[in-house]
Homo-oligomer: 343 residues x 2
């Protein structure tokens, strides 16, 4: 590998000058700059990134932590792909690289491990759940001053840097839409409570029902775990009380689709016999039958914002501590929420 030294010799300057040229530092004679660049071109010199990291004492890597994803799919891959793309776009703009860390199933959540080998300067943590163990791990990071960012998850009562979406407002809009279409008996199929999304969506649902003066009977509140299967199973419960339900708002697309599959087996077709709206607007929403109305979440932008913020926080130190944000969602209406309430 050709090094700075060889470039310096060929250009007839010192090594320091070569560095200055490549880092655009200090004043320098255009002629020398040109000589150096020409020499570098001739030798096909490229700075050694590892040596740079070593000297600068920063890795130039942003770590991205992905949760363990077992065969029972609670997350859609769409979700992570979008967020990752956003992160990728931002790190490229900042000359950073992206180091992926896939958690193991049993892995104790000792995030500090990632930092202490100094292979990452900051981290974005995806798919975090609100459990005592998680809170403790994150708390520990924060106390040690290690820069990190959570995406699409809020820890009430803590002051972590988070980039979230306004799920409560999104849910409110979805339920309002169903009401405007004439539906009154609207059920809510929620996901696991350890995700803050769940609480937010429940809140949006309840507010929309209250604002419309509609009663929320216990039977209208169903509980799933974000898997297709749990939505499929909820169809049974719903069928039991089919006279009391005209529409369902589900906390994600997978459950919504499972629910539609379950009810179809009993003869109820979404968009004809009842209405459904899901959440996330993943690509499965377009693949389902009928196509699923859903709340679109700006995952790409969330990833990008998280990367921007957490790197700014790191690069400018405490001076620019990032502040949590909440991006807006939007409702995408498709066939599953069409039709009208049964008379």
């Amino acid at each position: 590998m050709v090094t700075r030294k060889e470039v310096a010799e060929l250009a007839g300057v010192s090594e320091a000058t070569v560095s200055r040229v490549f880092n655009g530092l200090g004043p320098m004679k255009p002629a020398t700059k040109e000589r150096v660049l020409e020499a570098a071109r001739q030798l096909d010199y490229h700075p050694n990134a590892i040596a740079q990291s070593f000297a600068r004492r920063r890795s130039g890597n942003l770590g991205v932590v992905l949760p363990y994803m077992p065969k029972v799919h609670l997350f859609s891959t769409y979700y992570f792909a979008e967020i990752l793309s956003g992160i990728g776009e931002q790190v490229r703009e900042q000359g950073y690289d992206l180091l992926l860390s896939l958690l193991k199933p049993d892995e104790s959540l000792d995030y500090t491990r990632l930092y202490r080998s100094q292979k990452v300067d900051a981290c974005i943590i995806l798919g975090a759940r609100d459990t005592p163990q998680q809170r403790q791990s994150l708390q520990q990071l924060q106390e040690q001053g290690l820069p990190f960012c959570l995406v699409n998850q809020h820890f009430e009562g803590s002051t972590f840097y988070e980039v979230d979406a306004d799920h409560a407002e999104g849910s409110y809009q979805a339920v309002r839409h169903l009401q405007e279409e004439g539906y009154r008996k609207i059920a809510f199929l929620n996901g696991s409570p350890e995700y803050s999304n769940s609480a937010d969506r429940l809140q949006g649902y309840l507010r929309a029902m209250a604002d419309a003066g509609l009663e929320v009977t216990p039977g209208l509140l169903l509980q799933g775990n974000y898997s297709r299967k749990s939505g499929y199973e909820a169809a049974d419960q719903l069928w039991e009380q089919r006279e009391q339900v005209e529409a369902v708002f589900a906390a994600n697309d997978r459950m919504a689709i499972g629910l539609m599959q379950g009810l179809r087996e009993k003869g109820w077709i979404a968009g004809r016999d009842f209405a459904v709206i899901g959440c996330d607007d993943s690509d499965s929403a377009k693949l389902s039958d009928p196509p699923l109305s859903s709340i679109s979440v700006p995952f790409y932008e969330m990833g990008k914002e998280a990367a921007r913020g957490v790197l700014a926080g790191f690069l400018h130190g405490e001076s620019a501590k990032p502040v949590s944000v909440k991006l807006p969602t939007s409702l995408v209406v498709r066939q599953s929420s069409k039709g009208s309430p049964r008379k």
Copy 2:
């Protein structure tokens, strides 16, 4: 940050000894080893990975190149998620890290850029297409002796290291299955020709038809581009000649689902009026209505094998040049291929 030097001082040994302990090198007195480990524990010492990379002159990173994925989804995110998981599992086992590189739309495919900054020791390239430009980029890598591996793509006539699946055999099995179910007029909806999968699947289809003594009229060969939309549009063509078609084998799940959606609008239900089998067994196969029969491809294992092979090739030099492999597929039968041919 606490360094080797401090540990050495506290333990009353030289820095070299500390290194030996942490690398398990050379013979050493158990007592000294224990003293060093105790000192390290006390100081919470962890080797600096960047400095290690610098000294060892290897990054300890495996690069993974992902293609640009525009809004028109030709790849399923499932596909990449599975392969990435496999890679992730393997690199962890080898103490490596995973550096993600997301290509930009216009980006000229100069893969050497990834290596010359020395941030990766080897690369796995996903979603490569067989174009002159691609071949040239890869050829260049090979000539420079840079270790890389292609997953799920074959370049006929070249000797790249590739981990592929036996798509021809998988397709053969799928079509044979349709024949065993009594179908005779079987169409094939292929994807873009720049992916070797397409040619392989076509070959499997043709062989199965030939082996069964069935004629392949030109009308039975449809062309899509792996997007749902292209499958949806193929439904029109198919409908034109509906008397000549009883079943369809599609080169991926997205097209198969689009096709089912298109034909449903005309009144044909998959699994009742005609049969469909897709490829990849992505999770959308379980979400579609009816659930889609599909050829399962061991993406996880392919990713794992690619990582294993390419790292072995790098770590042991030319001595252990990895040899291309082709993993087996399997057919998963669901509702879309049930039913029986119309009389």
